[in-house]
Symmetry: C2
Subunit: 332 residues, 2 copies
């Protein structure tokens, strides 16, 4: 019998998102019964004919037609909205996302953005060249994290990491989720989606970690921004489609929101003179919240664990649900 | 016998640095045997004649001549370099600083500055208006806090707070101090001042919390900056006089240092076209690292505790040492 083939396509301009030869050697050593083969993204459709497992960043829906033996598409990403979840499901191919290791860098990123606003650091950087002195402005503007409240909408694995960081600064954390745990587990006060308006109304910082699904499309709309506590801060480290950006800009312009930081937006990049680029109280980062030098080490470890499960017939971790049944409030 | 008089002068443009009527009422209620009197800064020299205790932001050396009964000058500040320590000492007046509550806001401030650099947030804010896309730049530039090393020079009460925050992000912390504790107490690897060059050579982030004393004047000089790890980050939240700013700028310009954030500088404000204002990898904050809405609550609580000690003849906390014997490496 021929060895089952695992096709890998993990290219990136950034080394931390690229499979190294060491990773490949480690996988081969750990799974001597499998044949690992690498392909550039262009070559993937031509290499899928005998592949049983695919591990890669992208998978075009049409590639399924070229993959008669494929049983499983494994992604190193946290989200699956760029992957053919419905199509794979309809032809009986499993599709998994990865989780557990995006939380650490995203918690660093989110806390940096929160502190950049709360301590007036972004204001300072903006005015240090042309204002004589701005101490009085910051004395008005700053807020203490100790005792402040952060509400995390779509509070899953990433939200739990973020909670640990926020609590280290003495913040109270409210986690909004469609399926909240019963107790205040993990130092989080859990509330159900139905109470999201109340949860944002008492938050100094709202962090959006919602995945993009039909149910979360423009979830943060005029109504939800209006429910936010006056002078609160809004962060989006989830998906751009979950936010109505006109409503966000309106809430910033009236002063209802103190500021906003967005790691995701659409189109990417934004047009040159887009108001989100120019707004003095908006900070944009280029989907860099998941940057982590150890990313591929972690992604390969997650994949290897799942590969053991696959080979021994256990259920895979991170299975993407078919769109119709997908939970909208489990953050990346 | 007349009631001993406590003269208070705690004015500020900022409410969190001002004594409120509630604070005054609470002190009067807690110490019914004392007479509390408030004075504007201008009025202090005319009100000192019968004062036993002074609690205030400033104290001019000449005021000592107008205060024949004065026994104790209490400051709500962490530092004493703006106060007449030597003069008070020479006439037998105790002078105390405050501690234990500056660490929390300063830890928030320092971690915000570190994350602003490590996650590329300051770069993002600077270029988001005029660069199409800067993801590749950030992919080069960012670093993970998890596993990185922070060296705190002048690691006292503030340094211990900062350590807790840094360790919540998985950082290793080295504390440099003239009198280091024996073991790795408080999650800190303690080293003696004599090993400061080695301590900064392995640090991704160096935080300067040194007080200003004759022994710390330009402590961070060309030699010490050269000893820093290439591409490391330098923060000064201590005192301006402890840094040779020409040496700092040189280390930034060669690229040896990744960046610098300064909460203190001299003169304050800096001249309009000072190179520290204009440097793209320098972030300046206007001595705002100690901003804290609860500041005066904490300062009054510290003072009240010390006042109990004073009245019962116990040693005061935060006594400023006479300049000649002052420890140079205990951070504010």
């Amino acid at each position: 019998m021929r060895q089952p083939v695992v096709l890998i396509s993990l290219e990136s301009p950034h080394s931390f998102w690229r499979l190294s030869s060491e990773h490949e050697r480690a996988l081969s050593a750990a799974f001597p019964g499998l044949k690992f083969r690498r392909a550039t993204e262009e070559a993937v459709p031509h290499q899928l004919a005998d592949a049983h497992v695919y591990f890669g960043w992208r998978f075009a829906p049409s590639w399924l037609f070229a993959a008669p033996h494929l049983k499983w598409i494994a992604s190193p990403s946290a989200g699956t909205d760029h992957l053919p979840v419905a199509e794979a499901h309809s032809v009986g191919v499993a599709l998994t996302r990865s989780y557990g290791f995006h939380g650490r860098p995203m918690a660093e990123h989110a806390m940096g953005l929160v502190l950049g606003f709360s301590r007036g650091l972004f204001t300072s950087q903006r005015v240090q060249r042309n204002r004589a002195w701005w101490k009085d402005d910051l004395a008005e503007e700053f807020f203490d994290l100790a005792g402040a409240t952060m509400t995390i909408v779509g509070c899953g694995s990433v939200g739990r990491h973020l909670t640990q960081a926020a609590r280290a600064f003495g913040m109270n954390v409210i986690g909004v989720r469609r399926t909240p745990p019963a107790a205040s587990e993990g130092g989080i006060t859990w509330v159900h989606t139905t109470a999201v308006h109340q949860a944002v109304s008492i938050a100094d910082v709202v962090v959006n970690l919602l995945p993009a699904t039909p149910a979360t499309d423009r979830y943060f709309d005029h109504n939800l921004f209006s429910a936010c506590k006056p002078r609160s801060l809004f962060l989006n480290l989830g998906r751009s489609a979950t936010v109505d950006h006109s409503a966000l800009l309106a809430s910033l312009d009236t002063g209802h929101l103190r500021g906003a930081a967005l790691d995701v937006f659409d189109p990417k990049p934004l047009p040159a003179r887009h108001p989100l680029r120019l707004h003095p109280r908006v900070v944009l980062t280029p989907k860099s919240s998941v940057f982590c030098r150890a990313y591929m080490n972690e992604a390969v470890a997650f994949f290897a664990d799942n590969l053991h499960r696959y080979l021994s017939g256990q259920p895979l971790n991170g299975l993407a649900e078919a769109p119709a049944t997908r939970s909208p409030l489990v953050g990346g």
